[in-house]
C-alpha cells in the first residue's frame, strides 16, 4: 500500500467531510476509511469519463485542439458577445469563483451559479426574513430536537447523520442518538423518514400550510381545524409542543421546500417559524446545500458584488435580478448570446427549452469530466478535479470555510479551473 493521507476533505456534497483517510499509490486513489459510498465513487472513479484534451467544434463535431487555441477561441467568444452568461461554479473552488466574477465584469456579462435552481428560493426568503443559523457543530453539541423537512440526507448527504446531526455525541449530548428526537417531514417515505422517531407524511405542496399553522400555534394562536396538509391537528400540536420544549432545536430543509409550489414562500414560512421559536427556546435552521461549494459561490459573489446569484455586469457595475438575470430565464427566453459553463451541467438539469438555446449559442465549458453540456459546447477545456488534483477553498453548507487539498497530480498540461480562467481573462484583456 502506498502513502495514506489523513484528514482529507471530500469535495462532493455540502457536508465537506474533512476526516477521510485516502491511500494513494501509482496514480490510483483508494479511500481507506470514513468516506461514504458516493465519496468512495468520487475518489475511485476520479479519472473516468474525463475530458481527454481541449476541443473545439468544427463542422458540427468536437475536435482535438491545443490549450492555447481553446483559450483563444473562448476569449474570442466571450469578447464578441453582447451579453454572455457565466454559469456554474458550485463544483469548483472559490479561487475559480473569483476569476468568474472578474471575467463577467470584464466582458459585461451575467454571472449566475447553480443555487439559481436549488436554493435560490432560500436566498430570497433569507433576504426577506433573515435566518437563525448555526454551524453544524452546534447541532452535534446541543441539538436535542432535529427536524428534517423536505430533505433526505441518507440519500443526498450520506455522512450528515453520523458526523453532525443524528448519532454523534457532543458537548451537551452525551448519549448521541438517544439524546435526540428526530422528526422527518416529507411527502414520501425515504431512508431518512424510516429512521426518524416521528414521520409526518404531508400532501405534496402543502408545506407552507403546515409551517404556518405551527407558527401560529407556537405564538399562542388557536387553530380550529381537524387536519392540515393531510396531518392531524393532534400530531401538529404535539410537534409544536416538542419544538417549544426542546433546548436547542434545528430544522434542516432541502429542495422539498424550495422546489415545490410556493418555493421561496415555503422557506419564508420556515424561517419565520424558527425565528419566532427563539422567543421560547433556542432554535436554528440550516439549508441542506447540495454541491460541495455552492455555498462558497454565494459567499464569493457576496463579497465581490454584494449579491449571491443572478448578477449582471452589462452596465459596468453589479445588478441583482432574480428571475431576470437567472440562467434559466436568460436561456429559455433566448436573451444571452454566448455562455461559459464552469463545473456544472445545465444541459442535463435545466428545462429543455433552456438547454436548446445553450446549444444554439457559442458555449465554452470548463470541466474535468464529460457532461451533457460539454457535448453541445463549442469549446471544451479540461481541468483538474478540485480537491483531488487541485487545492482551493470551499464553504461547507453551514458557511465554514475549508481548504481542499491536492492529493495527486493531474495529467501534464491539465490546469486548475482558476488557472484556465486566468488565461482566458488575460487573453480577453489582450483582445480588447
Amino acid at each position: 500500500m502506498g502513502k495514506v493521507l489523513k484528514d482529507v476533505v471530500c469535495s462532493f456534497c455540502g457536508c465537506l467531510c474533512d476526516n477521510l483517510e485516502i491511500a494513494v499509490e501509482n496514480g490510483k486513489i483508494n479511500p481507506v476509511s470514513r468516506a461514504c459510498k458516493v465519496s468512495i465513487s468520487r475518489f475511485v472513479n476520479y479519472n473516468k469519463d474525463r475530458v481527454p484534451y481541449p476541443m473545439i467544434r468544427e463542422k458540427g463535431g468536437l475536435v482535438k485542439t491545443s490549450l492555447d487555441e481553446a483559450i483563444n477561441k473562448a476569449a474570442e467568444i466571450l469578447s464578441r458577445a453582447n451579453w454572455p452568461l457565466i454559469y456554474g461554479l458550485s463544483s469548483s473552488v472559490c479561487e475559480a469563483h473569483r476569476k468568474c466574477v472578474e471575467l463577467a465584469e470584464l466582458v459585461g456579462g451575467v454571472i449566475d451559479q447553480t443555487a439559481t435552481v436549488c436554493h435560490a428560493p432560500t436566498i430570497l426568503a433569507f433576504q426577506e426574513i433573515g435566518e437563525i443559523h448555526a454551524t453544524l457543530g452546534e447541532i452535534k453539541n446541543r441539538s436535542d430536537l432535529v427536524i428534517f423537512w423536505g430533505c433526505n440526507p441518507l440519500d443526498a448527504h450520506l455522512n450528515h447523520f453520523v458526523r453532525y446531526s443524528v448519532t454523534p455525541k457532543g458537548l451537551y449530548i452525551s448519549k448521541g442518538r438517544k439524546d435526540r428526537t428526530v422528526v422527518a417531514v416529507d411527502v414520501r417515505e425515504t431512508r431518512t423518514t424510516r429512521v426518524a422517531d416521528i414521520f409526518l407524511r404531508i400532501e405534496p405542496g402543502k408545506d407552507y400550510e403546515l409551517l404556518s399553522v405551527l407558527r401560529a400555534l407556537i405564538n399562542g394562536k388557536e387553530i380550529d381545524l381537524d387536519k392540515v396538509a393531510g396531518v392531524s391537528m393532534e400530531e401538529i400540536r404535539e410537534l409544536a409542543e416538542k419544538m417549544v420544549n426542546c433546548r436547542y432545536g434545528v430544522i434542516f430543509f432541502g429542495l422539498g421546500l424550495t422546489m415545490s409550489r410556493g418555493k421561496h414562500y415555503n422557506v419564508m414560512a420556515a424561517l419565520s417559524l424558527v425565528r419566532d421559536l427563539n422567543k421560547k427556546t433556542r432554535f436554528v435552521i440550516i439549508p441542506m446545500r447540495g454541491h460541495y461549494n455552492v455555498k462558497g459561490a454565494g459567499v464569493v459573489l457576496g463579497w465581490q458584488t454584494g449579491y449571491p446569484f443572478a448578477v449582471d455586469f452589462s452596465r459596468g457595475y453589479p445588478r441583482y435580478g432574480p428571475g431576470e438575470f437567472s440562467a434559466v430565464n436568460l436561456l429559455a427566453n433566448g436573451e444571452v448570446d454566448a455562455a461559459l459553463i464552469l463545473a456544472a451541467d445545465p444541459a442535463a438539469n435545466f428545462p429543455v427549452s433552456a438547454s436548446k438555446h445553450l446549444a444554439r449559442i457559442p458555449t465554452v465549458v470548463i470541466d474535468p469530466k464529460i457532461s451533457m453540456t460539454s457535448l453541445i459546447a463549442d469549446v471544451v477545456i479540461p481541468s483538474a478535479v478540485s480537491g483531488i488534483e487541485a487545492e482551493g477553498t470551499a464553504y461547507r453548507m453551514d458557511g465554514v470555510p475549508i481548504r481542499l487539498r491536492k492529493i495527486i497530480d493531474p495529467e501534464p498540461g491539465v490546469l486548475a479551473d482558476s488557472e484556465v480562467l486566468q488565461l482566458i481573462i488575460d487573453r480577453v484583456k489582450g483582445v480588447r
Binding site: 489523513k6 484528514d7 452535534k140 427563539n278 463579497w303 455586469f313
Partner: protein, 564 residues
Amino acid sequence: MQGERVIIRNGFVYDPINKVNGERMNIYIENGKISEEFKEEGAKVIDATGKVVMPGGVDIHSHIAGKINAARLFRPEDHKGDVVSKTTNTRSGVGYSLPSTFTTGYRYASMGYTTVFEPAVTPLEARHAHEELIDTPIIDSGLMVCLGNNYFTLKYIKEGEVEKLKGFISWLMKAVKGFSVKIVNPGGQETWKWGKNVTSLDDKVIGFDVTPKEIVTNLARVNEELGMPHTIHIHCNNLGSPGNYEITIETMDALRNIKPVKGRKNVVHIAHSQFNSYGGKTWRDFSSGAGEVADYINKHSHVTTCIGQVIFTNTTTITSDGPWQYRLWLLTGNKWTGADVELETSGGIVPYVFRKRNPVNAIQWAVGLELLLLIRDPWRVYLTTDHPNGGPFTLYPQVIGWLMSRKSREELLKKIHKAASTRTQLPGIRREYNLEEIAIITRAGTAKSLGLKSKGHLGVGADADVAIYSFNPEKDSTSDYEKIVSSFSKAAYTLKNGEIVVKDGEIIGSPMGKTFWVECKAPQEQEIMDDLEKTFYNYYTVTLTNFPVQFDYLPLHEPLKTMV
C-alpha cells in the same frame, strides 16, 4: 514603490507622534518608507502647498471582512442605490452601509485611510475573513479574534488553568493568523446558546460556572503576559441597553490592577463606548451616561476607547452579540439574522435606521460626541462609527466636522429630537478639536494603541502611508463644517507605501494591502496539544489538521513579535 523616490513638498504637516504640529515641511519617501532628506533630482514631487499632510488613517475598529458578508447577502436593498462602476484600474462593486470588498478598499483610501482592523473574527471562520482581505485592495489590515466566549477560554478559566489559556491563545493567533484578543459580551454569547444572557459582571455563564468579570480579567492578564501588541478589545455586556454605563465602568474598574506589559500603560480598549454609555432605566427615561464614562477614563490611564459614533442614516447592525441582536429584532421588528458558531461565538444582523426625530437615536448621536469631547486625552479616544453599526465609515468626515465646529453641532441639535439637548451635556460643551487632535484620534493614537510601530506617523522608517487633504489651516475656517467634510471625504492625495493611490479623491493605483498578525511563542503551547486534539475530535466538526489558516490566504503579510 520599490526604488521610487517621492517628495511631498511644503504641506502643513500633522505628525503628532513626532510632535510635528502643522509646521510647513517636506516629507521624503524612498522604497516605500519615510526617509531622511534627499536631493530632489529624479524624485517625483507632490506639491502640498496650502494643504494638510498627515500619516495615512488607521482605523481601529471597522467590520470589513468575514461576518459582514452575511449582511451583504442579507440586504440587496442596501446596495441598489449605491453602485460603483469598473474603471480601467478598479473593479466594480456596491457601497452604502455594506460595501463590497473592492469598494471598501477604494473608499477608505479615498478618505486617506491606509490601515483598517477587522474587529470580530471567529476562529473557525478566520479563513473566510482572510479571503476577503485578499480582495480588499490598498489597505493593510489585521483580524481581532473573538475569545470572550470561546470554549477553551471558559474551560481554562473554570479550571483555573491560566497558563494553559496563555498557551491556547498563543497557538490560536498563529493558527488563524490573528492580531489581537477580542471579547464580545463576555459570557453572554455562550449563555445565549441557551436562550439567555448575562447582565452583570458576576452572573454565571451556563455550563461553565465562570463570570464575565473572570473572563475579562483573565484574558487581560494573559494578553499582557503574552505581550500582545494591542490590549484586549472589549465590547461590554449590556450593549445598547439603558443604564449600561454602570457595567462599562465596572468592567474598566475590574481591570484597573492588571499589570500592563512593559512599554505601555493601557490594559484594555473599550470598543464603541457610545453604545455602552447610556443612563436611565428604560427606553422612556433613556439618557446619556457619557459624563460618567468620560470621567472614569479621564481619571484612569489604563483605558483606551473608540466611539462608535451614530450618524443619522439607514445602516446595518452586525455584532457577535447574539442576545443583543435578538433584542434589537424584538424592538424594531426589522428582519433578523442570527448565527451561532460551535464552541466560539454567536452573532446577528438587523438593519437599522437612526432617525433625527427619534429621542433615543438623538441621544445616541449626542453620547458619541460627548465622549469624544469630554475625554480630555485624545491619545486614548478614537474616532469610529463601529462601521456599519453606527453608520458607514464613509461618513467619518461628518464626525470630524462636528468635532471641529461647535457651530455645526449646535445647528444639528436644533434639527433633531430635543432629548439630545435636554438629556445630554452636549449643548454645554464648548470644546472644538484642532487638526492635531484630529490626527491623533484618526491615526496616531490608533496606531499606538494597536502597537503598530510603522503606522500612524511620518518619522524616518515609517511606512510611507500619507494622506494629503485640501484644507488650508491658515485660510480655511475650522468652523466651516462643509469645507471640513469635503476635504476629509476626498483626499487630495493618498500614498500607500510611497505609491500614489488616490488623486483628488479618485483611485489611480490599487496595490494589495498586507495583513498583520501576531507570532506568539509561548512555551505553554505544548501543554495544551493533547487537549486540543481531544476537543477537536469530540466537539468541533473540522479536524485539528484542517483548522489552521494556510499562508496561501495571506499573500502579503507581516508577523509582529510580541512585546516580551
